[in-house]
């Protein structure tokens, strides 16, 4: 009997050890496969997101090109014809001159608007002169009698990859737009600094702030903020929202100045 107990104990112990080794080995094998799969899914998602952003930029460029080359040209030709008509009318029907002048000024305004929209769609300054100049232009354009936008940046900014330039510019554009449109900010500071491990872009405003959790909970709102996160996801950057209702907001963007895996083509109109 005592021998049977000893043998039984030994058998049970061997089984217990086998179960432990099996669980440890099998779990590690499975988790390794799962992590590889997750990594692939993440890569695929990033690729998809990068492709979407790239397609978005292509589409903006196409619309800008169409506006500039086709509608802009047509409007210029229309203006020429109107000028000719104006000269004819001036001699034959002096009463219609005022109407022609009014139409001309409306046409001028339309041409200016088409140019502005076309420029807004594609940041040509960014492509020609880089991020700092583009942000300076953005600050200048956004500033008016009620809003003051200021750019503060390091003296020596390294040349960034076009994709990084574009991402940071679009994010700054979105944040400034939000500060003016939703937060009613009067003073906005764009802070661009080079750090040893990357680039730090901060947009600080004195607006009425917002409740981040509430905005992110509502699927209909916060599209711009989600867009910022998506853009940063592609280049492995991250955003910190230092916001509170009634206090203004401080939004910090940090990106690595490294060659990313997915590159977005940048064309010039």
């Amino acid at each position: 009997m005592k021998l049977y107990i000893a043998v039984g104990t030994a058998v049970l112990l061997v089984m217990a050890i086998f179960i432990i080794v099996f669980v440890a080995y099998y779990q590690q094998k499975q988790i390794r496969q799962q992590l590889i799969l997750k990594e692939w899914q993440e890569k695929y998602r990033k690729g998809l997101l990068a492709a979407t952003l790239q397609a978005q930029e292509h589409e903006r460029r196409r619309i800008a090109q169409d506006l500039h080359d086709e509608i802009g040209t047509m409007l210029s030709v229309t203006k020429l014809s109107l000028n000719q008509l104006g000269r004819t009318v001036e001699h034959n029907d002096p009463g219609s001159t005022v109407l022609v002048q009014k139409t001309r000024s409306l046409l001028d305004e339309t041409i200016a608007n088409v140019r502005r929209i076309s420029r807004d769609l594609v940041p040509t300054t960014l492509e020609r002169f880089g991020l700092v100049s583009a942000l300076e232009e953005l600050a200048e354009k956004a500033s008016n009698g009620e809003v003051h936008v200021e750019l503060s940046c390091s003296d020596k900014m390294p040349t960034l990859l076009p994709q990084l330039d574009l991402t940071l510019f679009r994010i700054a554009q979105e944040l400034i737009n939000n500060a003016i449109k939703h937060a009613n900010a009067e003073n906005i500071i764009i802070d661009l600094h080079c750090q040893p491990n990357g680039i730090l872009l901060s947009v600080i405003d004195d607006g009425r702030g917002f409740d981040l959790d509430e905005i992110l909970k509502d699927k209909k709102r916060g599209l711009g903020l989600r867009n910022i996160e998506s853009r940063l996801n592609v280049i492995d950057g991250h955003v910190t929202f230092d916001v509170e209702e009634g206090r203004g907001s401080r939004i910090h963007i940090q990106v690595k100045n490294l060659k990313p895996e997915v590159e977005v083509e940048v064309e010039t109109v």
């Binding site: 009997m1 104990t9 089984m15 217990a16 050890i17 179960i19 590690q28 992590l35």
Partner: protein
């Protein structure tokens, strides 16, 4: 009393060694108490209770008072501790339900097998069966959920391993306690199987100590 206790430890130094071994998981557990989740805190309390039980058991032995009932009571304590540890550690409702059922059945059937004068083979065997069953359920959860990144840095894996080894190693000993652990058997036989039981307990303590030690990685060890 102190002199008697010292003499007792001097005569049976194995007992002193066991008390020392119980202190290892307690010390490591207290050292890493900030990192311990609720399940591991239950285990720490269990070891403290074991330490107290062994101390009372030794005092009873000195004064020639029967101390077998303490081990039988601890069968219930073990069932309850295992239940609490794993009920808190598992989030799957179905598995939780199974653990609760197993614990209730074990505790309920254990009460019918109570004995205060000798080792209750029934209670101790049920406690072992319960420990093995719950550990296997937990292993099944680990494998099916795949939430742990590195299993070797997962505290409850070590605790479950120690528990299953201890339960497997003592199952037949407790099942046939009347043959090997009763007062009627030869001392050499009793001593041999009691030593086996002690070795299994030491293994459990050492595995639990590793569990307490790796508990600092627990929070970041999930996918």
């Amino acid at each position: 009393m102190l002199e008697k206790l010292i003499n007792h430890y001097a005569n049976y130094y194995g007992i002193l060694a066991i008390e020392f071994v119980t202190l290892i998981p307690i010390i490591i557990g207290v050292f890493y108490i900030k990192h311990l989740n609720r399940s591991m805190k239950f285990l720490l309390v269990y070891y403290i209770l074991v330490f107290i039980r062994d101390f009372i058991s030794n005092l009873s032995a000195i004064y020639k008072i029967n101390n077998h009932y303490l081990y039988n009571v601890f069968g219930f304590v073990e069932i309850a501790t295992v239940g609490l540890i794993y009920y808190r550690a598992v989030y799957n409702i179905r598995i939780r339900k199974w653990i609760a059922i197993l614990i209730c059945i074990s505790a309920f059937s254990g009460t019918f097998l109570w004995s205060s004068i000798e080792f209750s083979s029934g209670i101790l065997t049920i406690a072992d069966l319960c420990s093995m069953g719950v550990s296997i359920l937990y292993f099944n959860t680990i494998i099916s959920e795949l939430k742990i990144i590195n299993i070797l840095k997962h505290s409850l894996f070590w605790v479950s391993s120690g528990l299953i080894i201890q339960a497997a190693g003592t199952f037949f000993i407790f099942l046939f306690a009347k043959v090997v652990l009763s007062e009627k058997v030869e001392y050499s036989v009793f001593y041999f199987y009691w030593q086996v039981r002690q070795i299994m307990y030491i293994i459990f303590c050492l595995f639990s100590s590793v569990g307490f030690w790796v508990s600092k990685y627990d929070k970041e060890n999930y996918t």
